[in-house]
């Protein structure tokens, strides 16, 4: 049980390659934080700095009001689950889980009690005598988590723990991690590049891009009010449609090549008058045949109950997600041209064309 804080943390590698540019964040006791971002955004580096596997160039990492920058990984009271599990191949499952405790000179009974307890939680009690090589991917993942649990650390660190599993197992383990967290209530930091994992697991999520935090918030906040075009295009599947537009003095909207968009000027906040902005609309918040964006249909993907309709205005691709049943009577043909508009329920998103930052209306 612990709090975790980042105070203006930066990381610069030899040769002046900056990978993390000043991160400030507070993690409350027992909170489950997911750090999400594309590969190379610095999310793993950030986690490895918490673990003590990378040095902190500037700033402080604080666990329970104690600056841990110079502490060895073992002294920080953290436990980490690695992407490739990193189990000791020559040790049995029991020995793998007990190793950290053995080094810390716990007595034998205590070790056994803790390992048995963790094994029971993770349902791997029958595997304790096996070697990691004899286990399946999902079982290895459980053992890796067991090794973290037995230590009862202040902070759990998960470094893309599910990315080596197949899709079905990933969903299952995702649920298990959630259950585990609800049971143990240990402060956790979870790194992933999978936005679905991030949305489902996070109590709060941190969206990172190029070493900068783009947004911190609950999954709903991040989804409903993305702080930048990067977040808007990273979270959500398919991503938010982003259309560069010009707005005139009366709230009239022009798309690329001065094509007027049929969006009601009422929906355009007055502060946007005479500005170049980016209009954001989620694919599932759009309706066909409503005044809005004139598009030509390029492709239709049927997903089952829903379909993705891909269209184009100028150079911008537009995706609409809607139920298949909606177009049952009049199937959409490639080459059709019509307007796609807002459903009128969900507000439109506006972003500054220069900085990509959200403009609150």
């Amino acid at each position: 049980m612990a709090t975790l804080s980042f105070r203006n943390v930066t990381k610069t590698y030899a040769g002046n390659i900056a990978v993390i540019h000043g991160i400030d964040m507070d993690v409350a006791d027992g909170e489950f934080i997911v750090i999400v971002g594309p590969s190379g955004c610095g999310k793993s580096t950030l986690m490895r700095m918490v673990a003590g596997l990378e040095t902190v160039t500037e700033g402080d990492i604080v666990i329970d009001d104690k600056v841990v920058n110079t502490l060895e990984p073992a002294e920080r009271d953290i436990a980490m689950v690695f992407q490739n599990y990193a189990l000791y191949p020559h040790m049995s499952v029991f020995q793998n889980m007990a190793y950290g405790l053995k080094i810390r000179k716990f007595d034998k009974q205590d070790i056994k009690r803790r390992v048995d307890n963790a094994a029971e939680i993770l349902e791997i009690g029958h595997l304790l005598d096996r070697r990691p090589g004899m286990l399946s991917g999902g079982q290895r993942q459980r053992v890796a988590m067991g090794r973290a649990i037995v230590r009862e650390p202040k902070v759990f660190l998960f470094d893309e723990p599910l990315s080596n599993l197949d899709a079905k197992l990933r969903v299952q383990m995702r649920l298990e991690i959630q259950k585990l967290h609800r049971r143990l209530k240990t402060t956790s930091l979870y790194v992933t590049h999978d936005q679905v994992e991030a949305m489902t697991l996070a109590e709060r999520m941190v969206v990172m891009n190029k070493g900068v935090v783009e947004q911190i918030g609950t999954p709903i906040q991040v989804f409903d009010k993305p702080a930048s075009t990067f977040v808007a295009s990273f979270i959500g599947s398919p991503p938010m449609n982003l259309i560069p537009v010009d707005i005139d003095a009366n709230g009239g909207i022009m798309g690329a090549s001065a094509i007027p968009l049929g969006i009601d000027p009422e929906q355009v906040p007055p502060i946007l008058s005479n500005r170049k902005v980016i209009l954001g609309m989620r694919p599932e918040h759009m309706r066909l045949h409503k005044p809005g964006i004139p598009v030509e249909i390029e492709m239709v993907e049927i997903l089952g109950s829903e379909q993705l309709i891909h269209g184009r205005i100028g150079d911008t691709l537009i995706v609409v997600r809607c139920p298949v049943s909606l177009t049952k009577d009049h199937p959409i043909q490639v080459g059709d041209a019509f307007q796609i508009g807002s459903d009128g329920v969900h507000p439109l998103h506006w972003f500054d064309a220069e900085t990509g930052k959200r403009i609150e209306a």
């Binding site: 003590g52 436990a79 690695f82 000791y88 090794r147």
Partner: protein, 280 residues
């Protein structure tokens, strides 16, 4: 072979049998000669049936009665000590140096690695005179230390272990660090058990290497009781004006073959494993 024809089977078996005979026949002759008297061996052609002096010959070589050379039991002891010290010494030293080169970031790390590597170009024969001088000055002639120390340093084994350590994933080290294992603990608990098969393979190779050393013991030992068995055989043959007792030479040769063969047979499983798979 895709086709199965009886004459092909016959043919391939014949080839194999000839091969086995070619290898085994000299061994057989050695054995036969070691069971006969010196006179019987000297006859031409020699009888290819075992004679009746098996015990007598082997007892006399092993314990040295009734012959003019040192007891072979002593030579075998010297050889065993030498082979074991060389094999174990080589493995421990090269493992530790590979450990240092791979896992520690110290100044001139690569320089040291290449220094070790360069010594590969200097086999014993090339550096034998200066090494002899050093060993002699240290007063190590006719000692186990003199026999073994100069042969212990091994670039090959260091290189082998380095390559093996490089295949161990970094996450394993990181997991061990988080678990609280210091460097030596990591070495003992994780690297050592993982290297088991490589160690076994190297042990077999180095034991035989040590056992078969000829040139170095030849110049470093002058006392009979420090002769390894290989030198012993040579001394028995180079008997100037005296008659070489070939039956005893053959018995000694057979005895000299036993320990390396035993090591190979006993460690065969590990040896093959170490050479073939990189068990993870």
């Amino acid at each position: 072979m895709i086709e199965r024809r009886p004459y092909l089977d016959f043919f391939s078996h014949a080839i194999l049998l000839i091969g086995v005979a070619l290898v085994a026949f000299p061994l057989y002759v050695t054995f036969v000669a070691s069971t006969q008297t010196a006179q019987e061996v000297a006859q031409a052609p020699m009888s290819l049936l075992p004679g009746g002096h098996f015990f007598q010959n082997y007892m006399s070589v092993l314990f040295g009665h009734g012959s003019n050379s040192a007891p072979v039991a002593r030579m075998m002891w010297v050889s065993t000590v030498m082979a074991l010290v060389i094999a174990i010494g080589k493995i421990s030293i090269s493992m530790l140096s590979a450990f240092a080169v791979v896992y520690f970031r110290f100044r001139f790390r690569m320089f040291f690695f290449w220094m070790i590597f360069v010594t590969l170009m200097l086999p014993v024969e090339v550096r034998i005179a200066p090494t002899y001088k050093v060993v002699a000055d240290l007063g190590l002639l006719n000692t186990y230390a003199g026999l073994t120390l100069p042969l212990i340093a091994s670039a090959t084994a260091t290189f082998l272990f380095r390559q093996f350590f490089l295949t161990i994933p970094d996450e394993l080290i990181e997991a061990a660090r988080i678990d609280g294992a210091g460097p030596m603990r990591f070495f003992k608990d994780i690297l050592l058990p993982l290297s088991k098969t490589s160690i076994a393979a190297l042990f077999v190779i180095q034991f035989i290497y040590g056992w078969n050393q000829y040139l170095w013991p030849l110049i470093i030992t002058t006392h009979e009781n420090m002769y390894p068995i290989v030198i012993g055989i040579q001394r028995m043959i180079a008997g100037g004006d005296s008659v070489t007792e070939w039956n005893l030479v053959m018995a000694t040769a057979l005895l000299a073959m036993i320990p390396p063969a035993a090591v190979v047979i006993l460690m065969q499983k590990w040896f093959v494993k170490g050479l073939v798979d990189s068990e993870k």
